[in-house]
Amino acid sequence: MTDATAGQPAARPRREKTSLLTQDGRTKRRNAAETRFKIYGIIAISIGLLFLMGMLITIISNGSRAFTQTFITMEVTLDEAVLDKNGNRDLADIRRVSTFGYAPLINAALENKVQDLGIETLLEDGAAMRAIMSASAAAQLRDYVLSNPDQIGETVEFQFLASSRVDGYLKGRVTRESIARDRNISSAHLLLIDDLMEQGTVERSFNLGFITGTDASESRPEQAGIGASMIGSFFMMLVVLALSLPIGVAASIYLEEFAPKNLFTDFIEVNISNLAAVPSIVFGILGLAVFIQFAHLPQSAPIVGGLVLTLMTLPTIIISTRASLKAVPPSIRDAALGVGASKMQSVFHHVLPLAMPGILTGTIIGLAQALGETAPLLLIGMVGFIASEYPDGFVGGFLDPNSAMPAQIFEWAKRADPAYYERAWGGIIVLLVFLMTMNLIAIILRRRFERRW
């Protein structure tokens, strides 16, 4: 700061006498620098906001397609000779017919449909046409027959999923050029789809199966849904909430209200602030080594994920809880102590209830962080597990292998079929909706209940 005064006074430039109202060159330069500096700031903020907008637009434009799916409507005759040879409607007999047995029924139904509508196609029979349908159709039919055995012999209308190539064709992802070397589908199929589309047999509609369904095998992207992993995430969040809220609050109360100033307390403080900055993948290593290798908890189970995420969120919750405990003015404590409450009573009866809105806000934000966290889940085996079944029951929800929403998104992003990319973007929309809801609740809690002293 001394440079300004250290200059030689002799070299001071001679100033011409000018009006204050006209700016000289130097002032103009300084003002220009001022404007430039301000513009840099505006540019920086605009870039940041632009990135945000770009990301949101990408997510929405790519992901919204996952919520619609192409369906093919047709009437299938549930042939008694195929499905129930003995004709006694014995479930054990019906169950013996595998999905392969159902394929001819679908082929026939498809062929009939095309003939009824009078569509000309190069494909000779139903078996050749079936590439337009999802491989899941036979299983869907079989499930229906097993739950309604009395419908055997009738003709029932079904809505089957179209294959992912057909779906991609209607969404513009698959073109005639791109399928030139595709063995699964030919341009004859696409012509057929165009005709069926005109007749209203093939249509795109909202796909509830994506939100509630389970993950499917690599070759059936049209069937995959995020429902099972949503349940996995839900059980993980239950574990995180049940452990991190009481432990975090207890730890904060001790550190804020009771802890004497000594080495042990300092050590805890240092640990908490360091844990908050430890990379999440390291928590994954901890979970793998301690919970799976050492304690032999089941791999891929939500309880392990929940435990790891609890350890990760604890510092966040402790830091925000301490802030809200600190915000309660000392007069409250003094008043409680003054009328004869013990220290413990003053904290639990007076300080804690007043700090509760802040604590809950911090907890919800911590939970939202935990919900979106992926890296530690990779290491405890939640990626790579194909969540193709719902967990059974409450205990099963904690202990059965399952996936979690971010892990499921990662799993889809790794698969080769571009149809899964669409699913991954769609999964992100679902995840972001959850995160936004949680953050909104936190903001509302803060606005509604937080007290300014």
Binding site: E34, I45, V278, V282, I285, V290, K343, M344, L371, L378
Partner: protein, 490 residues
């Protein structure tokens, strides 16, 4: 009895203890609360605590120690001849454990009876087929020694569980009886309860320490094991990274470290100018209305999960960069071979770090005393001159701290590099090449199917240790700087 039910029973006993303790205290005071030392609920809580806490602690300790004890006992009884060449006793033990679990599953599904599971001999029956019916797949080498060990394992586990149930329930009942026997009107229940609660609070606070210890121990033990199998000099000395699960891997850390640092530097080059200028504008120039909109919007970027950034890098930014810098790109440079590259990951990570840098710098700039601003403006400096020559120098240590914290974030970031940076470990100066990082390799080494005792898997722990030490060092240093700076103006 399953642990869950033991837990439910001791919780029930504790609830009963609360009611009984409270009632007994009131009865001893002749029904008049004023004759009691403490409020009635404290007598109840006292009984509940004495019922629940010791029993629960014993249950936890038992759950941890029993498997260790049984494993050691069973392991000691397995003859060395059973361990195949090139394998370890640990792998045999995991076979034993799997077989014991399989027998349990089969019994619970009713495929075989409990007596059958206890007495079955491998050489007499085809147990593999029977277990297959229950959906249990067994490992390749099923010898009679393993079967005997598994049966011993099962019987010890069953006995242990029975004893555990009895002991835990007895302790719960004993605690209940003891607490009730002490409950009378002069008993200082509040003091006892508060002392216990205080201990529980301390235990909760110590979990942070336990977590750190857990992290350090799980890293250290496996790292040491790794360095027994693979020389430490090669790990820190070799410039190639080529793991091959058949053996003869080259596991040098430098290519990974190079990739990590390169990506972090690019990320910081994006995040620091944008974040810093945003912070300056928001704290010095913006009107309250702009600030109240722009600041939360920027912070939304911090709330987006990293998997979203990863996908954005892989599917949007990568292809966009290839369109520009790729072989057939419209710039015609041909620098980039594929969508995953250092640049892709670095750019996206930079976006992720913007709010981190800007909100930390914002706090620090706001902490510079108003008097310094006023003094500078009063001398005739323009606003930007004040910022550049007064505020920034004053805030510099704090900003350096913020940048270091951001760097530690960048180094530890996983999902963006796993999806956006590629898998090839190489040392190259071209930012459009695919490179890989420490975190990405931790993931790929630990999620493979390889045997857990091989150096190719254990190296992940050594990498984790490296990462932990680097980020910890950066954090401690950054916090030190930030704290030191804060004191300067307070």
């Amino acid at each position: 009895m399953p642990v869950f039910w033991i837990f439910v029973i001791i919780t029930g006993l504790a609830a009963a203890g609360y009611v009984l303790g409270r009632g007994r205290a009131l009865a001893s005071a002749g029904g008049d609360q004023r004759n009691l030392h403490s409020l009635p609920s404290y007598y109840g809580s006292n009984a509940a605590i004495f019922t629940f806490v010791p029993a629960f602690l014993i249950l936890l300790i038992w759950l941890v120690l029993q498997p260790i004890f049984i494993s050691l006992t069973v392991q000691a009884n397995i003859p060395d001849s059973v361990v195949p060449e090139g394998s370890t006793i640990g792998l045999v033990m995991s076979d034993v454990r799997r077989l014991a679990d399989g027998l349990d599953t089969a019994v619970s599904q009713g495929v075989i009876t409990d007596d059958y599971a206890r007495s079955v001999r491998v050489d007499l029956t085809d147990i593999r087929a029977r277990l297959g019916e229950a959906g249990v797949a067994l490992g390749s080498n099923l010898t009679s020694e393993i079967m005997i060990a598994a049966q011993r394992f099962r019987s010890m586990t069953n006995t242990g569980n029975l004893i555990k149930t009895i002991v835990v329930l007895l302790i719960a009942l004993g605690g209940l009886g003891y607490a009730l026997s002490r409950t009378q009107k002069d008993f200082r229940a509040r003091n006892t309860v508060e002392a216990t609660v205080r201990v529980l609070l301390i235990v909760a606070a110590s979990i942070a320490i336990l977590t750190t210890i857990g992290i350090v121990l799980s890293l250290i033990f496996n790292t040491i094991e790794f360095f027994f199998l693979y020389p430490i000099g090669d790990f820190f000395g070799s410039l190639t990274w080529s793991p091959s699960f058949g053996g003869g891997s080259d596991l040098g850390v430098w290519p990974l470290l190079w990739g990590t640092l390169y990506i972090s530097v690019i990320a910081l080059l994006v995040a620091v100018p944008i974040g810093l200028f945003s912070a300056i504008y928001l704290s010095e120039y913006a009107s309250p209305a702009v600030r109240s909109v722009a600041k939360p919007m920027l912070e939304v970027l911090a709330g987006i999960p990293t998997i979203v950034y990863g996908l954005f890098a892989l599917l949007t930014v990568g292809p966009m960069l290839v369109d520009a810098f790729g072989d057939d790109g419209y710039l015609g440079l041909g620098w980039m071979q594929g969508g995953t590259a250092v640049m892709t990951a670095g750019l996206v990570m930079g976006i992720m770090l913007i709010p981190f840098v800007s909100s930390l710098s914002d706090d620090i700039i706001n902490a510079v005393p108003q008097a310094m601003r006023d003094g500078s403006l009063g001398l005739g400096a323009t606003h930007s001159e004040t910022v550049r020559q007064v505020i920034l120098p004053a805030a510099l240590p704090g900003i350096v701290g913020a940048v270091l914290l951001a760097a530690s974030r960048a180094i530890g970031e996983t999902m963006i590099v796993v999806l956006g940076a590629g898998a090839a470990a190489r040392i190259s100066a071209n930012p459009f090449d695919a490179m890989t990082t420490i975190t990405a390799k931790i993931v790929s080494q630990l999620t493979g199917d390889a045997d857990f005792a091989s150096p190719e898997v254990l190296v992940a722990f050594a990498l984790g240790m490296t990462l932990f030490v680097i980020t910890l060092g950066l954090n401690v240093f950054a916090l030190y700087i930030v704290r030191k700076y804060r004191e300067q103006y307070e």
